[in-house]
Amino acid sequence: MDNRQKEINNLKDYKYGFSTDIENIQAPKGLNEDVIKFISNIKKEPAWMLEFRLKAFERFKVLKEPDWQKPKFPKIDYQDLYYYSAPKSMKDKPKSLDELDPKLLETYKKLGIPLQEQARLNGIAVDAVFDSVSVATTFKDELTKQGIIFCPISEAIQNHPELVKKYLGSVIPTSDHFFATLNSAVFTDGSFVYIPEGVRCPMELSTYFRINASNTGQFERTLIIADKGSYVSYLEGCTAPMRDENQLHAANVELVALDDAEIKYSTVQNWYPGDQDGKGGIYNFVTKRGLCKGKNSKISWTQVETGSAITWKYPSCILKGDNSVGEFYSIAITNNHQKADTGTKMIHLGKNTKSKIISKGISAGSSDMTYRGLVDISSKAKNSTNYTQCDSLLMGNKCGAHTVPYIKNKNSESNIAHEATTSKISEEQLHYCQQRGLNPEEAVGLIVNGFCKEVLQQLPMEFAVEAQKLVGISLEGSVG
């Protein structure tokens, strides 16, 4: 058996499907003001934070669950969820990795993120989020030297209230849509990044999200601020144990780029997608939005979406500053009964703004995938350009691939170009590869990787390798 075959056999089943038996502290089941107060209290939050949450909750009460999206799902009972779950050993925060519960370290080791070794070897600073709390952040000292703040958001609320107060909710206000507002009310933890003026972050920053407890929703909140002239590259990875019931993940991510700053945000999303019959899996309803606030700023989203039963997210850029740039690179792969409705919004407000969208969708099995995007050039956004390309690949005749772009041009000096294609892997290409000794699965893997290359190239090196493997694995069993 060759190596690849072995790898496939190892990975055929969702390899992150184990759960960790660890003692938890949970908030009472259900969603009400008391639960929000409980979360705020356990995190020892200042009064303004509680106020922020309660305001969002007031708004949430009047909002209705949206129903315009393509993937339909059974009604979620928001009262039947736990909104806070934390490993007991985290009650009094450990000061360093050495104090961390060995069981937690073991979990992350299994996930391929050995926190201790990573701290020494890889040169990537990791913030690990386990259910509702951040358990460990590595490389803190080195970053602090440069003035970079990289810590769990709950810590930032304590230690840097002026920054959090200023920017939290500035891109995704508490009055936003249903799931974003829910997040604002009950978010538990997440990462906070601040890059000071003129600093180029010397390493990749990374957060690893893990849902462990059952019946828990994970509501993390990430806030990244790149001050004038700074640069940061941020990675995000996610997994969850295999469970029969569906679990909700509704995160908010806010990015703010000031003058001349650049933020690069990469995601490899591999939440548990459910079994072959579509049972279980994560509902991934995420709001990600970046604001290019200053001149010449740049925000770039890269995502590889392979997991989740239902993915529903549109990482967006608001190009407010003149000459700002927004980019969106995406690979979305659905197999079995997965459903994905994903895309981006590029809102051009400033002059000379540019945006680029490259989206590659692959659907196999009985899955369904939609690219949904908006390009809106306002009348003031003189001399702006957008280029959009979305390609879909279909494998089998039980799956669907859809493209729903909205294109609005209100400025005669701006240009928009949009292209989309849908096709299957051509027989000629397959034949060519097979002739040269590849088996059909390898051939498909090769062709798919070529199809996705434009996006994979955008990922930081360590991630690109992992993502490339993931692409092959996600499509296992779809050929033939």
């Binding site: 315009w68 009348s379 879909s392 279909l394 494998m395 089998g396 005749n397 039980k398 799956c399 669907g400 691939a401 859809h402 493209t403 729903v404 772009p405 909205y406 294109i407 609005k408 041009n409 209100k410 400025n411 005669s412 000096e413 701006s414 240009n415 928009i416 170009a417 949009h418 292209e419 989309a420 294609t421 849908t422 096709s423 299957k424």
Partner: protein, 415 residues
């Protein structure tokens, strides 16, 4: 509006000899419309075009009753010169004349179908309005193997006798096996501020060919909505061309169902807009069986504060393997105030297909203008040349040379 609708409805049906059952059905449609009202931007299909607001702002209160007892004089000066053709003449929504003088009488049948109700998939409250208020509806049947010698021109004329009125028209066409029809819808309005609501239904049997041209060129202040449903059998071809220019507001919807193998549909359109006109084309091509083909090309030239919208959808059923679907929309915005919105959509459930769409919008290419000016043309001439060339691309897609020339003349495009 509710009382007005009910009052006008009873006035309308009073003059008709309808059975109790027909009245019930019409009443049901009226109630549906009263319930839903004019489409507004909360509905996805009307996202870019809020008809409810447009009617409110441009017309205000509409009345729905049309006195159709007296005949109108047919003004022959509006007829197209230099092209022999059959005629159907509508004046203020009343059908005045059906004349197939160039055709064999036994090959075309005209059937009164006033009591039937059209029900379309994908339709909206306007089809209810149409069903409730149309009082005359004919079906034109082209018999097996017959190909019309001359094109049929349908004149839609309105004059100043009507004001703030809603006019509802309906026509059904059936093209039997191996038959063909060329059709031009020609709008000629001297009225203002009326709302025309037009429904056509086409049924194309095996090998039938329909060439369907819609020409709205003459300046007027009316609001138009036209819905064409085309059902296509094996090997049939439909070609639709839309020239969208004259009215203040217009929305053309083409819903094409490719039911038979090797059926193909072509939808081409030109928006040539100025002032504060607001036009939309929405096309839905349903590929329902294998080996079907569709092609769409829409081009817009937008001046002043005009606004064009194109919503095109290609739907491919899971049975429709080997589908070939193509769609392209391009727009030139000539003014700061002009606006182009597009929603080109693909919904695909079969894997062995070739579907693509493209959309581009932007300003006139300054480099091209410079090139032409450096060869001695004035700025104005260069601009016109480029715009003509841009639009000619679509007009050239018209497969009937007589009609192509007619439309070129109307657009003022010279080669």
């Amino acid at each position: 509006m509710k009382e007005q609708l009910q009052k006008d409805f009873y006035n309308s049906i009073k003059n008709l000899s309808l059975s109790q059952k027909d009245i019930e059905i019409k009443k049901f449609c009226l109630d549906n419309f009263i319930d839903k009202g004019f489409p507004n931007k909360k509905e996805e299909d009307w996202k870019f075009t809020d008809l409810n607001q447009i009617i409110k702002n441009n017309i205000g209160e509409l009345s729905f009753y049309n006195d159709q007892a007296s005949t109108n004089k047919v003004d022959t000066s509006v007829f197209v010169d230099g092209l022999e053709h059959n005629k159907i003449v509508f004046i203020n929504g009343r059908i005045e004349k059906i004349d197939f003088e160039y055709e064999k009488k036994d090959q075309i049948e005209i059937i009164d179908q006033s009591e039937t109700i059209n029900e379309f998939e994908n339709s909206n409250s306007l089809s209810d309005l149409n069903n409730a208020f149309t009082n005359k509806c004919f079906k034109i049947l082209v018999k097996k193997g017959y190909q019309l010698a001359k094109p049929l021109i349908i004149y839609h004329t309105t004059n100043s006798k009507i004001w703030s009125k809603n006019i509802n028209l309906r026509l059904n066409f059936q093209l039997d096996k191996d038959s063909s029809l060329r059709l031009i819808d020609l709008f000629n309005d001297t009225s203002e501020k009326n709302f025309l609501n037009i429904f056509y239904n086409f049924e194309l049997k095996e090998n039938a060919v329909l060439k369907n041209y819609k020409v709205d060129k003459f300046e007027n202040k009316n609001i138009k909505y036209s819905f064409n449903n085309i059902d296509q059998d094996k090997n049939s071809i439909s070609e639709t061309f839309i020239l969208s220019s004259g009215s203040n507001f217009s929305k053309n919807e083409i819903n094409c169902n490719l039911n038979g193998v090797y059926a193909s549909a072509f939808v081409n359109g030109v928006f040539s807009l100025n002032k504060d006109k607001h036009h939309e084309i929405r096309s839905i091509i349903n590929h329902l069986t294998e080996n079907t083909k569709s092609y769409q090309l829409i081009k817009s030239v937008l001046e002043q504060s005009s606004k064009a919208v194109y919503q095109g959808k290609i739907f491919v059923n899971s049975d429709a393997q080997k589908t070939d679907g193509y769609q392209l929309s391009k727009a030139i915005l000539l003014n700061k105030e002009s606006e182009f919105n597009a929603k080109p959509e693909l919904e695909i459930y079969a894997d062995d297909v070739k579907c693509s769409h493209g959309s581009a919008s932007g300003s006139l290419n300054e480099d091209s203008i410079f090139y032409l000016m450096s060869r001695g043309l004035s700025y104005q001439q260069s601009r016109e040349l480029l715009i003509n060339g841009f639009l000619l691309d679509v007009v050239e897609k018209i497969t009937d040379s007589e009609i192509k020339n007619l439309i070129k003349n109307m657009l003022g495009i010279k080669e």
